[in-house]
Amino acid sequence: MLKILKNVFGQTYKFLRNDKFAMTGAIIYLIFFIIAILAPYLAPFDPHEMQREGANFMFNKPPGDEFILGTTNMGRDIFSQLIYGTRPALMVGFSAAFFVMIAGTLVGLISGYYGGRTDSILMRITDVAFGIPFTPFVIVLVGFLGPSIWNIVVAMAILLWRDTARVIRSQVLTVRERSFVEAARVSGASDLRIMFVYIAPNILPLSFLYGSLAVGWAILTEAAVSFLGFGDPQVISWGYMLNDAYVSQALSRGAYHWFVPPGIFIMLAVMAGFYIGRGSEEILHPQLKDY
């Protein structure tokens, strides 16, 4: 087991070292992780707190020495919100990607390995998942289940595994025919052993790549859902900030310092996922696929 893990991490590291794009993506995530962990030290204020000076609330302050990016119409510090927004973004992105990787890899592995009837049933289910419009589905489910970060993650995980499953399946189909798998079978290894000990290590790098793409999609979708007002009201995410800015007329007031930064942060986080996933030429050779 340890050997397999070492092998997987070794391959991932080698892949990162050889691919400038992937390296950039990994560095962006690393920086976001550090920001998320150190948020209480980096943010000058409590993101929920309405700032005041004496008896006056600091509503709609432009960027300045005290408030780097100014304040919202409720007097909250925008910069602090931006820093704290890293936390839900990473939480949503990585937990959704984790479910997607597990589910997608399992479905692909079982489908590709057993073939036949199992394969066609699982692939039909995948087709159905592809027929469901992603963003509307998440909105409907979260809207009715209630706004919480975990509901958003669950709603996304229910659909996002579909790409991973398809790709993993086709990879398993080729790995299955290799001689070492044949050798294992002849020596009497069980199906489970062949699948998880012999085949799985060969497809794990690919499921990591798809996982990293899923991080990007998940962050983007969480932002959209929060923007539409179905986000977790307790959590200040970048999507929530944009929703707040939109409904508080920040656009007509030209408060660019309020609504531009959260979008840039979302974009960076999504790009980082794309960059890492680009290794498989996913982005440069887009197939007919939809989100």
């Binding site: 992603f134 963003t135 409907v140 990007g216 179905f230 944009l242 939109y246 030209g254 989100y291």
Partner: protein, 330 residues
């Protein structure tokens, strides 16, 4: 040969119907298993006693679950999607009223995105290995990573609020009434309203045709007939457009069918940002006002378009490229 093709079309049609049936079934259970009484989900307390009775009967809400399911499927076939709580009108009517707006927005965005995307893709393939190519790819990746609603917000802030060139939302200036749909389509006012949302949606859709066209061009450029044309000493423009682009273009057409599916989903946020009265905004409104029948109807329609477009893409693919094995896409 024709026989095999028809068999394939038939098989895909069967699959499409099966997929739609499964999606509707999933939806049925999602809506019935919602927290609270299914009666609450379908019957608004503000309805009169009589209205409530009619709806109870229509959906068989007092009957066991399996009978409710049969009634639900029967109603779907008849296009009976129930009554909207919010609009106090049949769901089908409400949807049909906003559907044209969604189609206008989608079509104009698709046309912009696919024409710019195809030309951009040819251009990037042409400049292969130059700095311009890297720059172009990075810009395209940015457009795919940027949240659409955020792009829309920036365009609104700049072009509507700051420069005051375009209106900030809706399909027409408040108070304008058009006698016919045609009159609306002929008025400049409508296009002024359409411009920003269509631009936002097309920026979102642009990435797929552009990157697809580029990679197809790169593949095709190594084919023997292109090499041959080059050797014959034809100009680069001629080789690129007359020989390479024509063939690289085929998969992009099929991608456009899928693009329509994309656009349906992408519409949800863009329509909300620009207060564009379309299907996506309707869905958001339905969910936020807990208008279950309306949400269900809007969702089924969006899913239907997506499934149908995937079907169209597959059929087109098999028709346009005879080399494709009918069993699968490649």
């Amino acid at each position: 040969m024709l026989n095999i093709r028809w068999k394939y079309v038939l098989k895909r049609t069967g699959q499409m119907i099966l997929t739609m049936w499964i999606i509707s079934t999933i939806l049925f259970f999602i809506f019935r298993l919602m927290p609270g009484n299914p009666l609450v989900a379908y019957i608004d307390p503000t309805f009169t006693e009589e209205q409530q009775q009619i709806l109870m009967q229509q959906f068989g809400l007092d009957k066991p679950l399996w009978m409710q399911y049969l009634i639900y499927i029967k109603n779907l076939f008849r296009g009976n999607l129930g009554e909207s709580f919010f609009f106090k009108d049949s769901v089908l009517n409400v949807i049909m009223k906003v559907l044209p707006n969604t189609i206008y927005l989608m079509l104009s965005a698709l046309i912009i995105a696919y024409s710019v995307g195809v030309i951009g893709g040819i251009f990037l393939a042409w400049k292969r290995g130059e700095k311009v190519e890297t720059f172009g790819i990075i810009v395209t990746l940015f457009t795919r990573a940027a949240p659409q609603f955020w792009v829309g917000m920036i365009l609104l802030a700049v072009f509507s609020f700051q420069l005051d060139i375009f209106p900030s939302g809706g399909v027409s200036t408040a108070g304008t009434v058009y006698a016919t749909e045609m009159q609306k389509l002929l008025s400049l006012n409508f296009y002024k309203h359409l411009f920003l949302p269509a631009l936002t949606l097309s920026i979102y859709l642009l990435g797929l045709p552009l990157l697809l066209m580029r990679s197809n061009m790169l593949d095709v450029m190594h084919e023997s007939y292109v090499e041959m044309a080059k050797m014959r000493g034809l100009s680069k423009t001629r080789v690129m457009f007359k020989y390479a682009a024509r063939n690289a273009f085929l998969p992009v057409i099929t991608a456009m069918a899928v693009g329509i599916g994309y656009a349906m989903g992408g519409n949800v946020v863009i329509e909300t940002v620009f207060s564009w009265p379309g299907l996506g905004r309707l869905l958001v409104k339905a969910v936020s006002t807990s208008d279950y029948p309306l949400a269900q109807g809007a969702f089924i329609l969006i899913a239907g378009v997506m499934v149908f477009m995937n079907f169209v893409a597959d059929i087109l693919y098999s028709l346009l490229d005879p080399r494709v094995n009918i069993e699968g896409r490649k």
